[in-house]
Amino acid sequence: MKRSYVGVLILAAILLMNIVFTQLVVHQYYYENYGVTLLYAGLNILLFPVALFVYKNEKNKGGSKGYEK
């Protein structure tokens, strides 16, 4: 069985970005830069559909069966 770890790596990177953005949101909120806070919160929310998209595309990659491709 041959595996594809591309999806795992991409999703791990997305999760890392989530952590970074969440931290920035909290910090910028307390620095009272509310526009920047909204920007990072929006990016953080956008990452979720991206993660779902990556998951849906990658979940059957590298399977042992031919039809799984």
């Binding site: 795992v8 999760l15 953005f21 949101v25 990452l47 979720f48 990556v54 998951y55 979940k59």
Partner: protein, 174 residues
């Protein structure tokens, strides 16, 4: 293996020999990716309240504006004197202190302990609450002695045309 159950009692060394877990607790690649995607969802939801509060602040709901209120004329307030007034409504008693020639400070003077009116003692250069002898620093409003733990809410003042005006209540920073 086949004659194992024919022995009575058969020698068993564990009590879970008939449970076949079939690797159901194993975290495989797909399950791991599912966990990661779910975690991304949790992070997305967890930033929603921060965004909402930030949007609220941006729309100006955080800093309430009140019409400027004249407190007193500059010539009536000597250095070291205090004036009582109310701001922003007539139920919020406040106190203005002229600390030096050009330095005015104002606070809502309900003590942060039990809301007794705090007054200015000129000789001791301190604001004192008569109920339980709480004391506040006049230049910052921070509590220095007694039961109160939180600073008095500050009021921004502005000197314009020889008169002192209350402009707004400062943001409370805990």
């Amino acid at each position: 293996m086949s004659d194992r159950n024919n022995k009575i009692p058969f020698d068993e060394d564990n009590y879970t020999h008939n449970i076949n877990r079939n690797n159901e607790r194993m975290l495989d690649r797909r399950g791991f990716m599912k966990t990661l995607a779910g975690a991304a969802g949790v992070f997305a939801v967890s930033t929603l309240p921060w965004g909402a509060v930030a949007a609220k602040e941006l729309m100006g709901l955080g800093n309430k504006e009140y019409p400027n209120e004249k407190i007193a004329d500059v010539k009536d307030v000597k250095v070291g004197d205090s004036v009582k007034f109310t701001f922003p409504t007539e139920h919020d008693s406040a106190i203005l202190i002229r600390l030096s020639e050009n330095k005015y400070v104002a606070y809502q003077n309900a003590c942060t302990h039990l809301r007794c009116p705090v007054y200015w003692v000129k000789d001791e250069k301190e604001m004192i609450c008569p109920c339980h002898h709480g004391k506040f620093d006049a230049s910052t409003g921070a509590p220095t002695a007694g039961p109160p733990r939180r600073p008095l809410p500050g009021i921004e003042v502005e000197v314009k045309d020889g008169a002192i005006y209350a402009v707004r209540v400062k943001r409370y920073e805990a």
